[in-house]
Amino acid sequence: MLTAFMSYLGSTMTPGEAGNQLWALIYVLIIFAGVSVAVICMNWIERKALAHFQVRLGPMRVGPHGLLQPIADALKLMLKEDIIPAEADQYVFWFAPMIGLLAAFTVYTVIPFGPSQAVSDMNIGILFMLGVSSLGVLGIVVAGWASNSHYPLIGALRSSAQMVSYEVAMGLAVVAAILMTSMNASGTGTLSMIGIVQAQHEQGVWFIFKFFPLGLIAFAVFAIAMVAETNRAPFDLAEAESELTAGFHTEYSGLRWSLFMLAEYAAMIAVSSIAVTLWLGGWMRPFPNLLHAAAWDFIFSLFPALTFGGLAAIAFIGTARMPVQSFFKIQRIGLAVFAALLGFIALLLLVIAIAGRSADTSIAARFNEGIGYVYWFVLKVAVFMYLFIWYRATWPRYRFDQLMKVGWKVMLPISLGVLMLTAIVGVIFS
């Protein structure tokens, strides 16, 4: 038992490659839990950040600085009545949120958090991701139709038109990046997510900087299209509250509504991971080829511990700055405990980083490596998640005809041009 467990930790293969179903199940559960927690965190950060953008405080009452607000929200949503409108198509109405959720979570099987930190490495990884994440729109369309109401139907129609339009530009931008994977000696590219990151490692450049500015433009097209694809502001016409109440989920309430939210945020994380994998070097730390000495490895392996240490320090400062009043006493203790927890995690990561420093075959070293991979991947994805909030706070919503114009008359020609130029430049330089 113990040896089997140790061999899992020491393995350099993905569970899918090793054909180990139990291990794959454990990975799936970890990812599922991780994504759910990330969605909860994202919920809190979004509300807080949006509030600060608009010079408000945001949630402050439930827990210190509203830290427990998402949990309270989740509980409230679970307890609320699950209303199915009388005229709605019952079964389809009931099933629609699951389609979106299934699509959003299925893509996580191929997301590479590290060279062996993925459930499976499919030969067609990126195709699978694009295909399955495009199924998410079915949930929205079907939900809008099944509600048997005008606003949801219009929201669903908008959403499907929007997704189909932006998928084209998105796909072409992805093809431009995949083309770059074949710029090696053998001239063979790859569609596997892990293979794409390894290609960036071999070529010594993130694809966003390759053939400057071609990689950057392809990335920009993808970054815009992915916002449209996930129905987020400024492209959130499917749920434009000023025109359509709440768009496709107007008739939904309680748990079923929260499933839609979960699917939306999970899909946001998924598309951000595609962008990170294709253009930003996936799990790689900055300059893995240039600064590859053991000392640099050690310095970069300290980053996770430093991040958690910084968060703990911020939480401690927050504790110290809380007003000294009996009303805030419990909140103060709570925040102090939270800070101590973060500090403990930082300490643990520090110990692992130091233990994994010397030998490179030991379990500690493997563990240390794995933490590093996951840390850099999550950090890059987190930047995108923050960008999503930033967009929402900054830009007004597009009008529908503007949205279509941007999709077909701007994004599509640009991505097509980038694809052709990438092919031409690639042939010339290789």
Partner: protein, 175 residues
């Protein structure tokens, strides 16, 4: 690597495809029928995966389940479902359809009974890891020489382009 592609999976997927395929033509509500069609397409994608053709499976999901079916639903939603569901679903040419179906069934049965003689043995299927690369070199050729199907592939894409232009011209009278 242990194979997960057991017969159990095949029968489950095939059964799913057949049942939802029958539902497509028997369900009265057009949107329900479209949803059943999506299930059929996904089950067929699963069958492609079992045949070690991941690329075809991926394209099946992207093109059919993701792209075409969304447009199908888009159009169906604009149809008056109430009235459409009360209309007669089978028109008078159903005997022709029956004959066609029986011919297809006969073809399947004959392929099942003596498929070994009828169809050329293509040897072992390609390993999953190089399947996509093999498709690419067949379609586009490698290192300067034309692939096996390059010409046919280019002609097919030209045909598709003509079809797209035709669709645009037919819907948009003034260009």
């Amino acid at each position: 690597m242990t194979a997960v592609a057991t017969p159990w999976f095949f029968y489950a997927l095939a059964g799913l495809a057949v049942i939802s395929g029958v539902l497509v033509i028997t369900l009265r509500n057009a949107v329900h029928a479209a949803l059943a069609l999506i299930v059929t397409l996904l089950a067929v994608a699963g069958l492609y995966l079992m045949l070690y053709a991941p690329f075809v499976a991926g394209v099946q999901i992207i093109v059919y389940a993701g792209g075409i079916m969304v447009l199908f639903l888009f159009v169906i939603m604009l149809v008056n479902i109430e009235r459409a569901s009360k209309e007669r679903r089978f028109n008078r040419i159903w005997p022709v359809g029956l004959v066609a179906a029986c011919t297809l069934l006969g073809l399947f049965v004959s392929a099942f009974v003596k498929g070994k003689e009828l169809l050329r043995d293509r040897g072992m299927p390609l390993p999953e890891s190089s399947n996509t690369q093999q498709i690419a070199s067949m379609l586009y050729g490698e290192a300067g020489k034309m692939g096996q199907y390059t010409f046919a592939f280019e002609i097919a894409s030209l045909l598709l382009l003509v079809a797209i232009l035709g669709a645009v011209i037919m819907t948009k009278k003034k260009i």
